[in-house]
């Protein structure tokens, strides 16, 4: 499954001429007004990882806010403190968030995250990447 994800994104990245940042915990790039954020395989995100993740995203964005496409398929779990940090500090300079998950199992877990952390910006979870990108179009 992870290999499939990787191939999809290699094709995305190949069609893309800007900078791809190979961060500690994710690959990220900005394309056509959307920030793509693809997590690397992580068993459990903790607070210090969450801080680094937000920090690297802000460095890539620099002065601009973007809608974010966030591929969570390689993440197994996130601790409560990390979830809280990503919901609040992770919201800085974000206009909307589409979370891509692997299946119904991850969908249920991610829905609980959204319900309990009440992000301040429009947030939705998708299993279909195309629909996720469509959702972000109006926030560009």
């Amino acid at each position: 499954m992870l290999l499939n994800n990787f191939i999809v994104y290699i094709s995305d990245i190949q069609n893309f001429s800007g900078m791809v940042v190979d961060g500690t915990y994710a690959k990220m790039w900005i394309s056509e007004g959307i920030l793509f954020f693809v997590y690397k395989e992580i068993y459990e995100i903790n607070r210090s990882m969450a801080r680094e993740i937000v920090s690297q995203r802000l460095q890539l964005q620099n002065e601009n806010s973007y809608p974010i496409f966030c591929d969570l398929r390689a993440i197994t779990n996130a601790q409560k403190q990390a979830r809280d940090y990503l919901a609040i500090e992770g919201a800085y300079m974000t206009t909307a968030l589409a979370l891509l998950v692997e299946d119904e199992h991850a969908m249920a877990i991610t829905q609980l995250y959204i319900k309990t952390s009440s992000p301040a910006y429009p947030t939705r979870v998708f299993i279909d990447k195309r629909k996720a990108l469509l959702f972000l179009q109006e926030y560009k």
């Binding site: 903790n46 802000l58 460095q59 779990n77 601790q79 409560k80 500090e89």
Partner: protein
């Protein structure tokens, strides 16, 4: 068997043990989904009931485990077996037998990173208990110096308890006679909403306490006293602290001019921002940027 561990977790939650965790089988089926949701629910309940008051709470030692230089268990406090429901002694067992794989990684990372740290740093560790379940506890791991080789590392597990525990017990009977308990949960939900409101308004001034009360359908006194009691600070101090933290994050990681960051953090002028920034971080915003700025390019 898999259902049994779900039943077990529900019983533990019903008994007030929110530290019980299960490791999903990896099959990603509905049983796994329920297991993960129960884990997250325990975290949320624990956070809702206890975590916010941590500032008023004192960590107290729950149990400790000593390891030799090869990370084998050499001794542990007498109540460890009972808390972790060990059925037999664990002397000479490798630490991998008592904590989850992920927690081993966390412990090793902590040992690598703590060389210069002087303060106590809690990391959540999952201890194995019966039926492949876990007991999660905030822990510290310390390298022991100047003791014999059987005691190279110490893992200490903590729990947070309110210092007024005995006082609480005395008043417990009175409390059970009036309906205040139910209101208290409602107040907590209300204050959680107020906290969220503050965090969503870091870009602007906060309304007065009276207006905040009106927005949240409560009164000024309840808001003021309740927030202080639960979060250990006043609403306006909390707002100021979070605005400055946001400012510091943007100063460190973006090239946004400080004048723009000042506005984004809800300050009307640079001197107000700068003065408060200096109080919290001990240096001016520009000096802080010079020393901490990070860039990917």
């Amino acid at each position: 068997m898999r259902f049994n561990s779900l039943y077990q977790q529900i019983i533990e939650i019903a008994c007030g043990n929110f530290m019980f965790r299960q490791e999903p089988s990896g099959r990603r089926d509905p049983i796994d989904t329920i297991a993960v949701l129960l884990n997250m629910m325990s975290e949320e309940i624990y956070n809702f009931c206890f975590e916010a008051q941590k500032q008023e709470e004192q960590p107290e030692i729950q149990f400790y485990i000593f390891l030799d230089k090869n990370f084998h268990i050499t001794s542990y406090s007498s109540d460890t077996s009972e808390i972790l429901k060990w059925k037999q002694d664990k002397f000479d067992c490798p630490v991998s037998e008592i904590v989850s794989k992920n927690s081993i990684k966390t412990l090793l990372e902590e040992l690598d990173s703590d060389r210069e740290r002087v303060y106590q740093h809690f990391i959540p560790i999952d201890f194995k208990t019966e039926n492949n379940s876990f007991y999660r506890s905030p822990c510290t791991i310390q390298r022991m110096v100047g003791v014999d080789s059987t005691c190279a590392y110490a893992i200490t597990a903590f729990r947070f308890s309110n210092g007024n525990e005995s006082e609480k017990k005395i008043t417990h009977i009175d409390e059970s006679l009036n309906p205040e308990k139910k209101e208290s949960a409602a107040t907590k939900i209300l204050l959680k909403k107020v906290r969220l409101y503050v965090l969503r308004n870091l870009h602007t001034d906060l309304p007065s306490l009276r207006e905040l009360g009106l927005i949240h359908r409560t009164n000024k006194t309840k808001l003021k006293e309740g927030f202080k009691k639960i979060y250990g600070t006043t609403i306006h101090r909390f707002h100021m602290k979070k605005r400055l933290e946001k400012g510091a994050l943007l100063i460190r990681n973006t090239e946004l001019p400080i004048s723009i960051i000042t506005q984004k953090c809800g300050f009307k002028d640079h001197s107000h921002f700068s003065k408060n920034f200096r109080v919290q971080f001990g240096k001016s915003p520009s000096q802080y940027r010079r020393e901490n700025h990070r860039s990917i390019s």
